[in-house]
Amino acid sequence: MRDADPDVERMVAFCGGDDSAFEPLFDRWGRPLFHYLERMVRDSACAEELVQETFLRVYCARDRYRPEARFSSWLYRIATNLALNELRRPRRSRPHASTDQTSDRADAALQSVPLQLVSEEPDALKQLDMRRRTGHVEQALSQLPERQGMALWLSAVEGMSYAEVALALETTEKSVKALVHRARVALVAKVGEGEVKERA
């Protein structure tokens, strides 16, 4: 455990009866956790529920918390388990709202805006290009196996080390290294395919 983790100190204080230490934990981690869960379950409302559930579990764990790792690893471990449970529920087979909405918005923008008008505005063209690119990567991310997507997100976006990701996903560092790499390779291939299709 790294002693310097201020969130571990906050959690220890909270466990010691300092209720005010809980709020900064939510302030610090609520938003990134929401984005992580939103990408994983691809449903904003569901992600909100899972954020609440994760912090409720943190709250309830105050009597048995052991500061053995970074707080974020422990927090994401709880969140990941909840997300995986959610993804395994039968009703999850339906299309995912947020990704579809984003893709729909991007598609609508692509189809509805005449290219010659956009070309007169360099900023608008850049924005459209950015939307197109993010649309592709978002779609590709949603097609990855769950754990690959999670590992890549935690490492590349959240900046966690392989050791921290391993704790969050309850696996080994070696597995994380493989998961992250496979996810990257798959994303490069899928995004490339999408761009080739678009050009054609």
């Binding site: 993010t134 990567v137 992250v180």
Partner: protein, 196 residues
């Protein structure tokens, strides 16, 4: 090293998971090989796009909802958000309520002073026999009035109260205070007469 392993090393390089020596060695290879350079650039591009994905804001009421659930868990009374309308009503009540209450209280006091409250016989009896507060014991016959001050001084407070048919011993204290006042006034008068 196989291509697949090298590819994996590129990924680890991006994530900062290689030792400084291994990272330096790999960077030198990348600079010398356009294929590796392209591969590393493709990985970097994907990471960059992931980081720039649009992110929804955290719902503003999420904290409140979490707090509500924590309160439920802890068995604390829920802190419901107070609507603005209700806040305005409370402010208005606070502004006008105190003077209004004072006016009503003053009216009640005035009414009580002006109009005698009709009291039934039953309630009079109840008022006359406050079992817990009545201090003076019942006596079959009144004690004869003392004939001298010495005799009065020998009587107990209770006997005196009965002798003067007082309701409570507090009245006796009052009489004593009046006696004291009279005595003081008498002394002052005597002093003035002496000076004169």
């Amino acid at each position: 090293m196989r291509d697949e392993d090298l590819d994996r090393e590129l990924s680890a390089l991006l994530d900062g998971e290689l030792t400084p020596a291994r990272a330096r060695e790999l960077r030198e290879k990348v600079e010398a090989d356009p294929r590796l350079r392209e591969r590393l650039a493709a990985f970097e591009s994907v990471d960059q796009r992931l980081r720039s994905l649009p992110r929804s804001p955290l719902p503003a009421d999420l904290r409140a909802r979490l707090q509500q659930r924590i309160d439920q868990l802890a068995g604390r009374p829920e802190r419901e958000p107070v609507p603005q309308e209700s806040l305005r009503s409370r402010a208005s009540l606070a502004r006008w309520g105190a003077p209004l209450a004072a006016a009503v209280a003053a009216g009640l006091v005035a009414g009580w002073l002006i109009w005698p409250i009709p009291v039934s016989d039953e309630s009079v009896q109840l008022l006359q026999v406050p079992a817990q507060t009545r201090v003076i014991p019942e006596q079959p016959s009144p004690v004869p009035l003392p004939e001298s001050d010495t005799a009065v001084a020998d009587l107990s407070d209770e006997e005196l109260a009965i002798a003067f048919e007082l309701e409570t011993l507090r009245d006796l204290d009052l009489i004593r205070e009046l006696d004291l006042l009279e005595a003081l006034v008498g002394m002052e008068t005597m002093e003035e007469e002496g000076r004169g």
